[in-house]
Symmetry: C2
Subunit: 211 residues, 2 copies
């Protein structure tokens, strides 16, 4: 079951998952960890410090689980498939929920913000690396900032996770539509050089006209 420190970290993650940031008190975490309440302060000083340490701990664990699978992706379609499993599995494991709760808490409590940014950043780094690898040379990479897209993807995952908590059917439809959209974009990349040139020309014209 691990030493006290680890049990507290895991208790914090579980508490964030089941009680949210509003219910993540030292007493609640200690109860979930099965340890004495005073040990929270002995090991971590403050509740905030425990929560931020727990987020780092949990994110590192979960990202590690996926690192190999991210590395194995060779196309946008495969990334799409991985995204689908990741959503399903993380919904169970709950790291996304933890991230969402910490994000909500970080808006007002600046002490949580750096660790939360780091936790989300681990996912962003993985997605960005894959996108760079998979999209280089495609029209998508030509006209869209790939690093920004990775950040948007991670943020959207969090938003959809929260949405799923209040409207499961709506969230399902949202996910499906995004897959269709990504499929459409993937199809663009598959197109022959003629169509591709046309798309490029159109985009250049639109981009120079707009804004």
């Amino acid at each position: 079951m691990g030493d006290t420190r680890t049990r507290l970290l895991e208790g914090a993650l579980q508490t964030l998952r089941t009680q949210g940031i509003a219910g993540a008190s030292a007493r609640a975490v200690a109860a979930a960890a099965g340890v004495n309440q005073a040990l929270v302060f002995y090991h971590f000083g403050t509740v905030d410090d425990l929560l931020t340490a727990a987020l780092r701990y949990g994110s590192e664990q979960r990202v590690t689980v996926y690192r190999e699978r991210f590395a194995a992706v060779t196309s946008l379609r495969e990334l799409l498939d991985l995204g689908r499993s990741l959503h399903a599995e993380e919904r169970e494991a709950g790291n996304l929920a933890v991230l969402a709760q910490m994000l909500a808490g970080s808006q007002m409590d600046g002490r949580l913000a750096p660790a939360t940014a780091a936790g989300l950043g681990m996912w962003v780094a993985e997605v960005e690396e894959v996108l760079q690898r998979v999209l280089t040379g495609t029209p998508l990479a030509e006209f869209v900032d790939v690093a920004g897209l990775a950040r948007a993807t991670a943020a959207a995952f969090v938003g959809l996770e929260l949405y799923e908590g209040v409207d499961e059917d709506g969230a399902k439809r949202a996910f499906d539509s995004l897959e269709q959209l990504a499929g459409l974009v993937a199809a663009l990349d598959d197109m022959g050089p003629l169509v591709r040139r046309t798309v490029r020309a159109r985009l250049r014209k639109a981009n120079s006209t707009e804004r």
Copy 2:
């Protein structure tokens, strides 16, 4: 300044904005509203009931502000522009922040969920109506569930709002990349019939091959 009931509703919104769901206590709201703490319970019964009423109240107000501007949109590019202003203005007014906090709270407290779903639903309804109007007859509408896309858009906005709270630069990049992506999709819709047919054929093939 309005009657006590209204002041409490606005105090609740302000408290959610500045203190988050974790700090939205009867005392904090009453202080923000400038009224006695006991009046929360006299007028709304419980804190949860006050928060849900406030979300409905605030969302209705903010959506109303944008209704005409949504109605005036005639193209995907115009919708993009509106989305940009909406993000900037709502960041000030704070309805998105309120929504995000209520979503975070709704994950664990089921009593908040229906009102939160309704508050988000108001935005979804507006976006969906515009998308249906603007996209009908385009390749996008042909291959992507527009209602789902409206839900994904609203959820992504919430996620990006939360992300912006911990990494402003990253969020800016994310927004920019989404605009580029939407511009790319818009360019698709502008293309001539030849290219359009090609895209359709590619998509059909890809869709029947995949999954």
